[in-house]
Assembly symmetry: C2
Homo-oligomer: 224 residues x 2
């Protein structure tokens, strides 16, 4: 027999998955706006962001109700706590996508820089991290969560090298300073999106295993 | 007669307050390191950050235990949910302070720029926001929370004007590009610290009144 709390948790999971998809789409629109130099795409980011904010309030409300009405214990309670955190990460990811779209809007008024292509690659990896983290969440897949943690290193490295290149661009031509600053902010926001996807992956591991791997509990050397 | 849950919640509040103080001190050390050009102060940031991370795990654990053992309802449950969120904000604020200390470490290897003084002012306002948000939390003071929301506008404006000045610095002298990028990142991190203090203030309002003012629920025009 299905428990009432399982029904409620399944509803909650469905909302979180929809929210994760909106985040992925928001990031896609924001960075495609940059790559295709189409400011129309940036308007879509705001639409996704509005949806994400509505999901955010809905999920918190659902969690409160489940805790109050079902008095969840052990694994259920861990799952709800994880969802509260994932909800807050996804909401902030929506903010990051909005920040990117504002930076891109500024950037599109300036001379195009070749470094925009590095941003396209970063965006690709970050969206994969988001998709994998949400997939790991719905399947309770710890191995996939660990993959997300490893991908984050790729994003961090991409951001470092993008910054380095952009500093050179700025030194060589003062006219490119403003556009380069915009791209720096985009790559910084993408890095943060990756960090949030990492947080989600850590919460999935916590919800699935009860193991808190935050603050140094994950040892990448023990994984391939 | 005192309820068991009140004892537990008081313990939890005490830990959160200690955590908030560590955050404030971490931000202070990181920015004073910049202003006094003393890298020794940056080492203290790491010490505070370690404490903050330990508090973070402790608070989550305490919340889980209280929910499981006390089945809190209504206002108590709202308070615990708010604490879970505040805990996560404070942890991220510790990360921001660490980011600032890394940016400052880089900056100290370069020519000093006059814009560092704007950073000192921003840091002052942000630390006041943190202190006020934590004060508002412990007192359940909604009016003080609203003050924090208003201070955030000051920080956002300070960041905008710092960015503008630093772009000019970079355009005028390519030798200053790297130092200016470091200061941009510091001011961006301070802005984010302000955003997190704002989140805390919003959670205090939610815990105290049950009113969710996130995503457009706060109308600053109705306040002085």
């Amino acid at each position: 027999m299905q428990r009432q709390i399982d029904l409620e948790l399944n509803k909650l999971r469905a909302v979180i998955m929809a929210m994760g998809q909106s985040v992925e789409l928001a990031v896609e629109e924001a960075t495609q706006g940059l790559i295709e130099r189409k400011s129309e795409r940036l308007k879509k980011v705001r639409e996704h962001e509005d949806k994400i904010n509505a999901f955010h309030l809905e999920v918190d409300e659902m969690c409160l109700k489940i805790i109050a009405s079902q008095s969840p214990l052990a694994a259920d309670l861990r799952m709800i706590l994880a969802i509260i955190k994932i909800n807050s990460d996804l909401e902030r990811m929506g903010d990051q996508a909005m920040n990117i779209s504002l930076n891109v809007r500024d950037y599109l008024e300036k001379t195009a820089l070749q470094e925009a292509s590095a941003i396209a690659n970063m965006s690709h990896t970050v969206r994969k991290m988001v998709r994998d983290a949400m997939d790991a969440f719905i399947k309770g897949d710890v191995a996939l969560s660990e993959q997300v943690l490893l991908q984050d290193d790729v994003v961090d490295e991409a951001k470092r090298s993008t910054f380095k290149n952009l500093v050179e661009v700025m030194k060589q031509n003062p006219n490119f300073v403003e556009g380069a600053v915009d791209l720096m902010l985009v790559s910084r926001n993408l890095e943060r999106l990756g960090d949030h996807a990492t947080n989600i992956a850590e919460d999935v591991i916590f919800a699935s295993t009860g193991k808190d791997i935050r603050h140094g509990g994950f040892d990448p050397s023990s994984h391939r």
